[in-house]
Symmetry: C2
Subunit: 409 residues, 2 copies
Amino acid sequence: MPVNLPLPQADNLKPVAGVELGWAEAGIRKANRKDVLVVRVAEGSTVAGVFTRNRFCAAPVQVCREHLAAAKGIRALVINTGNANAGTGHLGLANARATCDAVAAKLHITTDQVLPFSTGVILEQLPVDRLVAALPAAIASAKPDNWLAAAESIMTTDTQPKAASRTVQIDGKTVTLTGISKGAGMIRPNMATMLGFIATDAAVAQPVLQALVSHAADHSFNSITIDGDTSTNDSFVLIATGKSGAAVVDRAEGPAFEALREAVTGLAQELAQMIVRDGEGATKLMTIRVEGGKDVAECRQIAYAVAHSPLVKTAFYASDPNLGRILAAVGYAGVDDLDVDRVNLWLDDVWVARDGGRNPDYLEEDGQRVMKQAEITVRIALGRGNAEATVWTCDLSHDYVSINADYRS
Amino acid sequence: MPVNLPLPQADNLKPVAGVELGWAEAGIRKANRKDVLVVRVAEGSTVAGVFTRNRFCAAPVQVCREHLAAAKGIRALVINTGNANAGTGHLGLANARATCDAVAAKLHITTDQVLPFSTGVILEQLPVDRLVAALPAAIASAKPDNWLAAAESIMTTDTQPKAASRTVQIDGKTVTLTGISKGAGMIRPNMATMLGFIATDAAVAQPVLQALVSHAADHSFNSITIDGDTSTNDSFVLIATGKSGAAVVDRAEGPAFEALREAVTGLAQELAQMIVRDGEGATKLMTIRVEGGKDVAECRQIAYAVAHSPLVKTAFYASDPNLGRILAAVGYAGVDDLDVDRVNLWLDDVWVARDGGRNPDYLEEDGQRVMKQAEITVRIALGRGNAEATVWTCDLSHDYVSINADYRS
């Protein structure tokens, strides 16, 4: 059961002028399910992305990087589920390129104007014939108000589709942003990967768009963790069509840039948190906020140590206010000159640890009350600077083990 | 059920001349269980240790470091279970010192000749009165052939005591080594910590002993992981009484040093592996061996990424040869210039991944056969140098979640 994750309603997902989405059932791994999505992007749009840092990065990720570097103007995205095309060597690269060739031929664009994405089985070759055979149906069904179906078509082990919209005023014009995401574990045995796509009708110069997507990724998809595993295929792409009529955002500063950055980052956070809410076996959403650090890097390091600790995660699953586990994770996070006597810890509004030890006024019943909630903020103050960072994660439950141990059996 | 971990037999645990061990039931946390151990060490012995790097290190660890630095000649160790004396501030330090005072008074030695160790509840004050009241009984029962009872008296959530002996020839003399260890998770909600103690009747100069204990720790207790959590109290201590009659080992080189290093490291590995075999919920022992690295650090980094991956650990629990999970962990381990096309992977004798992709000759039934075993070696060859490292870990099972989630409920 996902944590406070309502089903998206088609009516709440706003079309983005210049973007059309169409799906098909290619039977990549299973019959009778949406497993191919084509996103058509209007001419003149800018597109930027961030991709997995896993050294075993998948073939489509390599092709995405090449095609973005070619800078011919991206006109289409093609996404398949059921097969990750990862660990597939030269044939895998050829298959990713063949997929782009096929999309390009049908849309009368060039191969390097197409970005490919795959998610699913690792170490098996992509059934490229079945994928290509389904492209005409996907292209024929493409339309602007198809975001909910698009979110459904990129699901793998997600229990429900993930999508959201928002608007922001820029230059007196209403700019729309709509995005979709998928992912439930960072890697699944056969069904892998986090994917995120956001489109806006703002007009954004390419270098500014890259700054936006990097900033948003750092504060959203790069700030969540379910099990600490990084997929071979993780991708987050931002599309700006410019169809809103608002002036081009061509500098990475100023009010228009800041408004857009806040909107993109906020939407990316919403989509990223949806992934955690739907995390494998998740029963709780935890926000781990570390403040008072010397720099952001050490704040993130400590937040991730807490978020990755199986002992912390099982304590949250059990609603057990096991404070020592959180402090111990802070202590072993690798910040060598940390003065633990300055560390303070709160669970929501409950002051748990004070100056490195148990707060004398702390009552276990107060901790217990917070731990029973479905959403909990862990706030850790380091007392050594002004930097801060936030990471979102979920608990570690019996269902996580069942899902991951029993998947192929 | 521990993995291939036979109960130690008292007859197989050899006394070490110059070491006497006595226990008592102090009722630190629970009545009617051995929870205090005193180890008496003959005058003229050398003692060296390595301790947790957790910044929230416990009061007894701080006192151990002080007393070893004082270099007055350690004459006694006092170990309690049921309370970790961690996160306890100035009162905790005072309680650890008071414990040493009491031992020193009874044995007519000085406080800084006593090393204190605690394991148990974090963030609660040590019941020092009950501990001190039990010391006369522990001291009265001290005798050389008490190693099995000593191993029992430091258990917390261990399902069985951990102890082993071996002998080595040095200078034509038979030198004896006997050790005990405890630990089942790196941290427990209330019952914490890995502890290891080895005594030998070899004569070893202090700086050489420190080199021995560091080397042995790196290749044993610092090369195991159950859940990636590092305790606030982890300690490993090596005692050399010199009673064997073998010449003093006073240089960190040469045949005598090498023979002793091999014996100490081998015994430490045996004791460390016992902790993994008894890991919380463990059903399998995995040896993760990374070879062909540029340096040991990157080999360890990759081995730990594999050993800590919840997805790898659940796959082993399920006996599911999920190769992509291991390769993905290698890829995200943080070795930025890793050429994945040179990576090879074996499960025992089965060549699974070749040159970064699936070995064309690999059959899933072969992987399945190995995965069903209780002990499995994962060998990863990086093809970029001659360094290597080995890490031991266990799988992640339903019982791990149950043990850690249900502990206090």
